[in-house]
Symmetry: C3
Subunit: 151 residues, 3 copies
């Protein structure tokens, strides 16, 4: 009986110690790519430059098509500062944004930018959403475990 108890306890301790190793040593992940069935990524845009905007749209589509992520990736695009150009009705990105939204991409704009720049929300697409601050969003999403991409 005593031997059985020792064996059981040793087994449990072994399991726990393996977990402790994995947890306190991020490097232990290296090489062994975790097979997850869901990934979240926050894409950050704060430039109004057309080349940058075309680039980030292409980047999001490429990530969604990456064979390692396909069907498992959820993206939020957070826009602030000069990046607000992408959401302007007067701009040329309506179709590209709707295509992304159809793929599940959440389109978010920073409320601080809108207020500081006295932008009329009627000038922005009505299918976007708003967050209190882009910077708060960037910090909170990382704490929630999201990947962040700022091309």
């Amino acid at each position: 009986m005593k031997n059985y108890l020792l064996l059981a306890t040793a087994f449990v301790l072994l399991i726990c110690s393996k977990q402790a190793t994995a947890q306190t040593d991020p490097a232990s992940f290296t090489g062994a790519q975790p097979k997850l069935d869901h990934y979240d990524a926050l894409y950050v845009l704060n430039s109004g430059d057309d080349k940058k905007i075309h680039g980030i749209i292409r980047n999001m589509n490429n990530a969604l098509e990456d064979p390692r992520l396909k069907g498992k990736l959820h993206i939020e695009l957070i826009v602030f500062g000069d990046g607000v150009a992408v959401y302007m009705k007067s701009g040329s990105y309506e179709q590209a944004l709707k295509d992304l939204q159809a793929k599940g991409v959440v389109l978010a704009e920073c409320s601080n930018t809108v207020r500081e720049r006295k932008i009329d929300k009627n000038d922005l697409f009505d299918f976007i959403s708003y967050v209190p601050s882009a910077n708060g969003e960037i910090i909170l999403r990382q704490y929630e475990g999201w990947a962040e991409v700022h091309p």
Copy 2:
């Protein structure tokens, strides 16, 4: 006695297996925003462009005021390369930096930049601190669980 032992062991194994699930699946955070009472963010500046500098100062203030983070956010600003302009006594950022410092923001400069550019530390504000390398800081802070913001 034997049943009691089996029950206890099963209970411990159950707890351990639940932990293992939470640990290997970052996606389990999704949607459920953790209610933390403290957040750390490293802001990164490596540009001497005035628009970029004004931007990152505004960004840090906005993050500190975000209702989701207010009173819970600690920021360190790490400066390297051309960004060192923000710490120059000859520049115009002294008051903005002191205001940030009064809000708890740590103002750090990369020692490599100072050495490589042969900058006289007397030309930089004396209320800043130094780290061995900005790049080491960026890597280490992420490993400590900090969010990173590079606007």
Copy 3:
């Protein structure tokens, strides 16, 4: 005998509960710099500007020499978009790249960029490797616990 069993179980539960705390509270990392013996960092380059390229090469070398990381840091450089210039045989970065590779740096290029720009792989150094998409790489590496640096 029974006391011994209770003691062993309590001990195991204590270990497990300590792990649970560390895991659900990212803020618990704050201040206490974990002493790890291995760090992974993904450096991101998507600019063909010579100043940016020289900068990221210097940044990687500085991180490898940071006394807090020296001998413990593994780096992968992921290149996409205009950044592909760094891998061009017609460019001037061959020696700097070989020096980095000798320090263990993995040199990776985005296959999407190569395909979209119809680049002949024979025009790129043959000592680099390819990943399906740089954006997928950026997301996956963060999920694997790597630090990300985009100078």
